[in-house]
């Protein structure tokens, strides 16, 4: 399946573009979640995603934000974290401006 990835801030720099399609190959019996997508990206970009996304204790860095179809995943129930064909995942470092 193909999902759209949007990178903001440091993640745009890692992707070297603001958005890109990402092919995910589901493994039988394992539904694809947001975290599957993040792992795929991390492999593709040789650890750069995990370095920015996770703290040393493995928890998500509060100063980053991941959205699935516009919704912050921190506020989604576990059963809402599944990813389907055509979904959009936005990954952002904290930003400023105005």
């Amino acid at each position: 399946m193909t999902v759209e990835i949007i990178g903001v801030g440091i993640f745009r720099e890692i992707l070297q573009r603001s958005k890109m399609p990402l092919e995910i190959k589901p493994v039988a019996g394992n539904p694809v979640t947001v975290f599957t997508v993040l792992e795929t990206l991390d492999v593709l970009y040789e650890g750069q995603f995990a370095k920015e996304l996770y703290l040393e204790d493995g928890k998500l860095n509060l100063w980053t934000r991941i959205m699935l179809n516009g919704r912050d995943i921190r506020f989604l129930d576990e059963d809402k974290l599944f990813v389907y064909e055509g979904d959009t995942i936005l990954i952002s470092s904290v930003m400023a401006g105005g």
């Binding site: 903001v8 603001s18 919704r71 921190r74 936005l90 930003m95 401006g97």
Partner: protein
């Protein structure tokens, strides 16, 4: 009263009618409670302006207020607040700007300058330490803001003098006119028209009084804390120093919330690539810093090619990239540079002017209004933007006459059938965030004491993902009342101590503590972190009382009809809007968080707790 430090404890009161000035002591109790900047300015206006006065009449006052950190070594803390009753909104207002003018003003030895009355002929004021003089501005009237500053410097034979002035827009009383301090704008709410209504072209200042610091050790500890906080920030130096405020375009556009074509957002465009930091990267660029600011965010950009080649501007800031870019459908970054520069020359608020032009464009495209002057008012036509900007400032031509005072006034002239296209709250045109996708930011637009002002309650949690005081879901409406109170009181403090908003949001979890340290050190008085929160809350309650006294009520805490009835059409916020029911829900929450009643009226208990007992007599009578 001798102050130990921070404040001089003096205000300069200038009467333009009589061309006289006098110096007054500022009571210590007043300074302790209201500190400076926005809170002190609002308090003086509350006490000295009779309800219902005409903002462009002789009775209105124009206040330049500084804070106890202005002109000290405190980083990012030397801004200027201009307080007055706004002609655009009818509310009390505070409009701030940076640069170097604020420091020079403070060094004259005054914390506040109050300008009253109206001169018979155009004048400018020169304040050199304790000497005040009035000079004829007959030959300056009509000049743009940059020429005005150059000529005043030549006349005074002083290249170091710092100048605050208006351009043709302020002279012609456009309610969208700004006061330009060097190249910085105290841009919003028509403060330039107030200056113009007094026949005052400029204020030139030169000072030699060093601001005393009462407790160097404590002050330096606070300063060091701010520097350390900025250094640790993931945004301050890595992003903001390099790109400036335009960096906001990326997170806002990524979720489909950069308004375009008068908030119709009817076309999918990659705005960041076209006119965001990517688009603007095609221009020559250098930094310019406000006094004692280590971040130096302001970008001076020059167009390299095309019809705008050679034009440079300090900016454009993110707001202008929206208002004179996506908002009017312009995708050429050099055209935005040209329009930004023109607004600074004319002394126009880029946000209100851009939104007014975008409304005119939509009315023409929909066939509601004929483009009688043949400006070519279609989205994307940058030539039309440049032509109409001039017409707005000179209040000339069909469109210039209709829109010179903003979109709310335009509706009054054109008829209620055009109200749907007027993107303003309390008369103030909307800044660059489509709040259909940022609910607390929308609640701030609805409730902010001076109309839709993004700087007075910025939802950094929703827009930028800052997890302070806690992470939030931008699309939820629940919990946004409490959050908006937090954001508005946070902003109330930085407006009061004239600290830069950007620097403040880079240290959001320690801002109050660092400020308390610095102010305690500077003044020799003891301020706690809680005192700092109280200052912000007091400001918001005092301004609410000012506006209630002017006749504002819950019905004015609203949003433009378009945002409440038209869902977003594309992107990650598709389908979102803030319905009337959503807004009512958030307003109820907000009033409760503020301890106001269901009509949005502060309770006597709240006012008393904040030391605002003297305003209780002005509470609206019910029944």
């Amino acid at each position: 009263m001798m102050f130990q430090g921070g404040w001089f404890g003096k205000l300069l009161r200038i009467n333009l009618t009589t061309q006289t000035s006098m110096v007054e002591d500022i009571p210590e109790e007043l300074l302790k409670k209201y500190i400076g900047g926005a809170a002190l300015g609002s308090k003086i206006l509350y006490d000295e302006l009779a309800p219902g006065i005409d903002p462009l009449g002789e009775e209105n006052k124009l206040l330049y207020t500084t804070g106890p950190l202005t002109g000290t070594d405190a980083p990012s803390a030397s801004r200027l607040n201009i307080a007055t009753k706004s002609p655009l909104t009818g509310t009390v207002t505070n409009s701030l700007s940076g640069g170097h003018f604020p420091v020079e003003l403070k060094w004259t030895g005054y914390d506040i300058v109050i300008i009253e009355g109206k001169s018979k002929e155009p004048v400018y004021i020169v304040i050199k330490d304790d000497k005040v003089s009035f000079k004829s501005a007959e030959k300056l009237w009509g000049l743009n803001t940059f020429d005005t500053q150059t000529i005043i410097k030549e006349k005074l034979n002083d290249l170091e003098v710092r100048i605050s002035c208006i351009g043709p827009a302020g002279e012609n009383l456009s309610m969208m006119s700004a006061i330009i301090n060097e190249a910085r704008a105290a841009g919003r709410k028509g403060v330039g028209a107030v200056m113009g209504s007094k026949n005052l072209k400029a204020v030139a200042v030169r000072g030699t009084n060093k601001v005393p610091i009462a407790n160097e050790e404590k002050f330096k500890a606070g300063v060091k804390g701010v520097y350390a906080g900025l250094k640790a920030s993931p945004m301050a130096y890595p992003v903001f120093s390099k790109v400036g405020s335009v960096s906001a375009a990326e997170p806002v556009a990524a979720v489909g919330c950069l308004p375009s074509n008068n908030w119709q957002n009817d076309k999918e465009v990659d705005w960041v690539e076209k006119i965001g930091d990517k688009g603007l990267a095609e221009t020559d660029q250098t930094n310019n810093s406000c006094y004692r600011c280590p971040i130096s965010c302001s970008q001076v950009r020059m167009a390299k090619k095309g019809k705008y080649a050679g034009i440079s501007t300090e900016g454009p800031e993110f707001e202008t990239v929206y208002s004179l870019g996506s908002g009017v459908g312009v995708t050429n970054p050099t055209a935005i540079i040209g329009a930004d520069r023109l607004c600074d020359e004319l002394g126009l608020d880029t946000i209100s002017a851009g939104v007014a032009i975008s409304m005119a464009m939509e009315l023409v495209e929909r066939g509601i209004l004929a483009d009688e002057d043949g400006l070519g008012l279609q989205f994307g036509n940058d030539d039309a933007v440049m032509r109409l900007l001039r017409d707005l400032a000179y209040r000339q031509g069909q469109m210039g006459t209709i829109f010179a005072d903003g979109t709310k006034c335009a509706v009054e002239k054109l008829g209620e059938h055009t109200a749907h296209y007027s993107m303003q709250v309390k008369g103030l045109e909307l800044p660059a965030y489509d709040v259909r996708g940022f609910k607390a930011h929308g609640l701030n637009y609805a409730t902010c004491y001076t109309g839709a002002d993004h700087n007075k309650g910025y939802s950094i949690q929703e827009v930028f993902g800052m997890p302070v005081p806690y992470p939030v879901e931008r699309l939820d409406i629940k919990g946004k009342g409490k959050l908006t109170k937090f954001n508005q009181d946070f902003a109330g403090l930085f407006d009061t101590i004239t600290f830069c908003e950007f620097a403040a949001i880079f240290i959001p979890d320690q801002f109050q503590a660092r400020v308390a340290e610095m102010i305690s050190g500077a003044t020799g008085l003891e301020f706690t972190e809680q005192d700092m929160w109280d200052v912000g809350e007091r400001l918001n309650n005092l301004c609410r009382m000012f506006n209630l006294r002017e006749g504002f009520s819950r019905k004015d805490d609203t949003l433009p009809p378009r945002l409440m009835t038209e869902p977003l059409k594309f992107g990650l916020s598709k389908g979102e809007m803030i319905s009337k029911e959503d807004l009512d829900f958030m307003l109820d929450e907000y009033y409760e968080a503020r301890q106001w009643d269901a009509d949005g009226i502060p309770t006597p208990a709240k006012l008393t707790a904040l030391g605002l007992e003297d305003t209780i007599k002005d509470l609206p009578q019910k029944g």
